[in-house]
Amino acid sequence: MTRAAETEAAAAGAPAVPKRLSELRESQRGRVTRVGGEGVLRRRILEMGIVKGAEIYVEKYAPLKDPLELIVKGYHVSLRVSEASQIMVEPIP
């Protein structure tokens, strides 16, 4: 989808298009729609509370742009960008 179409959809009040968590910028918020990935890593991410429906706030990216720091369920956790890219979120304005 193009950027223009995306803004249009948002303006029309349609539910936000799911994005990768790694596409959110600092201080943006999103609700998890799907946690991808495989096996152990995926399980760990889920067990840390990053489950479907959880609200995530992107606190910041590290100085070298990787990893990123998130706030979920009231605590801070860091994740690599490659791992965050497996998590789909619905941006919350």
Binding site: L41, R43, L46, M48, Y61, P67, G74, Y75, R80
Partner: protein, 727 residues
């Protein structure tokens, strides 16, 4: 009167305050720190209360009963296999929702469970109000509030635990996670099969086994199979069938669905038992600190500054107390020289004990300051940030940000550092981290650098030492890179790491930490270093009668006679004094030459001469070679041995003077420092490596690799320097 023993396990998420409470309960001083993964092995302590012998067990932190890393397996195995009488789940009350995940899993185990809502102070501060009665009712278990670091609520906790152990009510079977219907059906069916078909005793409660089988837990699968005997095959078929059906139904693995549903259940509990008032929400100090410390621009420079400041403090601040200890030793040895008659015993005391132990003990202040700084990193919460900041760089060498924590700890002591690697989820990461950690120069090597750099580099000593440390870091990175692409190829583990809020370090605990460190250091002094010094001295003092190549005594007598003659001629007092001084100087010279020859002909000298060909290309003489050899027992002994072999009785200053005259050059000193930095780790570290890798081969590999690297680097620097005309 002791009636019985109760085992109480402290479980919970990492960094929830388990060890703090353990220390409060047992009066011990296990290590506490503000980052997840401080405790990596279980610790036990027994106390006597209310007529019981209570065996309290502190466990490593876990996020769930699905273990990922070694220390989590330790915790899970203890809870599952030792079935403690009571499990206290220490919960970070300011982080309730995430903590309840483990709690619900423990609840499913049907063990006697009790909640300690720790960090109640933090929760209050954040405006989080937890209705303990409600929570207790919802999950049907006792709930107690505690503030671990202020020792609040601990007695109540213990009483509740004992009451729970004494209560003989059937453990409630309601009040636990209810999964969706299809999953519950599968659980029930598997459960029935388990109960009906077991030939042996089922290891855990059947519902829990059924859940874990659905989640495909390999350990539980094996145990259940063992208990089922003949019926194992059929059971596993049943489980696999259910897994397949559920996967079709939900389009995902059952364990994932069940995780989701547990969090759903938890959300319900939190809704009912927790209210968060946003009105008097205070500024989040921790986030503000991170605005600077993990800032995009400032983060890394500040980090480097902290490390630099740590070493700067270690050297500059440490110099003052060092001078005091030095003069103390000077007084002592001066007194002893005067008080004791000349002979073997005095030699033993002066040249063996004082030269050996004394030359190392002066470094206690430096070592303490270094440990103090590392403890500050650990207690404030900066350690986890260091891992966060360094992850990308570590990633480039194929390692994990969390690997940086053991490496940083390695500056203090390699033994706990090697153990700290347990928190790494991937076996390969862990072994790799263990192999490169010894290149992080530990505090025991510091004395060697201070002596050598201090003697040969004068004002630039600080920079030289800092350079040595950097060299260690660089080589550990290169080694990591090399091994990653050859020996230890493989998948990288995820970097999912909790960043705890900053906490003010508790002065008391820092002081206790320093005190414990001092005790450890002194113990080492009176143990391995003392013994080492005695052995080294013995080997260098014997055999006693050596046939010298020169008649030294004759020469001394000759000098004396000459003095007597000229003194008789000289009339003025002043002139006589000058003559006397001249005589003393010459006698000393002869004595030194004699001592030198004696040392060379001693057992130690022979050993050194035997090893010399190996070290000659590095510019290290036979004394240095022997010193390096003895350093295997403990790195401090390198300095002790140098002190003894150079017969320097008065602490490090005398040793520096002796080294300065020993024919060593700047280049050979540099070569020796690099060798010390890199060569095989000390005995304690080597055995830690053996234990933690579980393999003698890795241990031998580590010894071989590091020593070969040390030789290579020292050779390159020394010979390269000579080619360039540096001496």
């Amino acid at each position: 009167m002791e009636s019985s023993i109760l085992t109480i396990a402290l479980a919970g998420n990492p960094n929830s305050g388990k060890t703090t409470i353990f220390n409060n309960l047992t009066g011990t001083r296990q290590k506490v720190g503000n980052w997840p993964g401080v405790t990596v092995e279980k610790k036990e302590g027994t106390i006597h209360r209310h007529g019981y012998a209570l065996k309290i067990v502190d466990l490593p932190g876990t996020y769930s009963l699905t273990p990922f890393s070694i220390e989590e397996i330790v915790a899970r195995d203890f809870i599952l296999d030792e079935s403690p009488d009571v499990v206290i789940d220490i919960i970070d009350a300011s982080n309730l929702e995430r903590s309840l995940y483990l709690a619900t899993q423990l609840r499913e185990l049907d063990c006697r469970l009790l909640f300690a809502l720790n960090m109640a102070d933090v929760a209050r501060e954040r405006g989080i109000k937890i209705d303990a009665d409600k929570l207790s009712e919802l999950l049907d278990l006792p709930v107690v509030f505690t503030v671990g670091n202020r020792n609040e609520g601990i007695d109540g906790l213990l009483e509740s635990a004992i009451a729970l152990a004494e209560s003989d009510v059937e453990i409630p079977r309601r009040r636990r996670v209810k999964y969706s219907k299809d999953i519950e059906v599968a659980i029930a069916e598997i459960r029935e099969r388990l109960v009906g078909g077991a030939t042996g005793e089922l290891p855990y409660n059947p519902r829990w086994i059924a859940i874990k089988l659905l989640e495909n837990d390999t350990v539980v699968r094996e145990r259940a199979a063992a208990a089922m005997g003949q019926g194992a095959g059929a059971l596993m078929d049943l489980v696999d069938r259910h897994r397949a059906t559920l996967r079709d139904l939900y389009d995902d693995d059952p364990e994932i669905i069940m995780t989701d549903e547990r969090y759903g259940f938890i959300a319900g509990i939190v809704r009912e038992a927790v209210t968060t008032s946003t009105t008097h929400r205070r500024v989040d100090i921790s986030r503000n600190i991170d605005l600077v410390l993990t800032n995009r621009l400032l983060g890394l420079p500040v980090f480097i500054f902290f490390i630099w400041a740590m070493f700067q403090l270690t050297f500059s601040l440490g110099a003052y107390p060092m001078a005091w200890i030095e003069s103390g030793i000077g007084l002592l040895s001066g007194g002893l020289t005067r008080a004791l008659p000349q002979g073997l015993f005095r030699d033993f005391l002066m040249d063996g004990l004082i030269a050996g132990v004394g030359s190392v003990i002066v470094f206690l202040p430096n070592i303490l300051i270094l440990f103090f700084c590392i403890a500050l990193f650990e207690d404030t919460g900066y350690m986890a940030r260091a891992a966060f900041l360094m992850d990308k760089i570590m990633h480039l060498i194929g390692l994990h940000g969390k690997s940086f924590i053991p490496m940083l700890m390695g500056f203090g002591c390699n033994v706990p550092a090697v153990m700290a690697a347990r928190t790494l989820e991937s076996e390969r990461d862990r072994i790799l981290t263990i192999l490169i950690t010894p290149f992080m120069s530990c505090s025991a090597k510091l004395p060697v650098y201070i002596i050598l750099a201090g003697t040969f580099f004068g004002a630039q000593a600080g920079s030289v030492i800092f350079g040595i440390y950097l060299m260690g870091i660089a080589l550990s990175i290169l080694t990591g890179r090399l091994f990653r692409s050859t020996l230890l190829k493989g998948e990288e583990a995820p970097f999912v790491m909790e960043l705890p809020p900053y906490r003010a370090p508790m002065l008391k605990s820092l002081m206790i930490h320093m005190w414990d460190r001092s005790k450890m250091f002194l113990k080492k002094m009176t143990g391995v270093i003392l013994v080492g010094s005695v052995v080294v001295w013995g080997l260098s003092a014997f055999p006693r009668n050596i046939d010298y190549s020169v008649d030294y005594e004759g020469r001394i007598a000759f000098i004396r006679e000459a003095y007597e003659a000229s003194a008789a001629e000289a009339s003025a007092g002043q002139r006589r004094e000058a003559l006397q001084a001249e005589m003393d100087r010459r006698v000393d010279e002869v004595r030194q030459a004699r001592d030198m020859e004696r040392a060379e002909k001693s057992y130690m000298g022979r050993l050194g001469k035997f090893m010399a060909p190996v070290f000659h290309p590095l510019g290290i003489d036979w004394r240095g070679s022997v010193a390096l050899l003895t350093g295997f027992a403990a790195k401090e002994i390198v300095v002790s041995t140098l002190g003894i072999l150079h017969a320097a009785g008065q602490g490090s200053e005398a040793l520096q003077a002796a080294l300065g005259e020993s024919g060593m050059t700047r280049l050979s000193a540099l070569s020796m420092m690099l060798f010390v930095l890199l060569y095989m780790p000390c005995l304690a570290t080597v055995s830690a490596i053996r234990r933690e890798t579980g393999s003698t081969r890795w241990m031998l590999f580590s010894i071989g690799y590091s020593t070969a690297l040390a030789w290579g680097v020292a050779f390159a620097v020394y010979q390269g320097g000579r080619l360039l005309g540096l001496a």
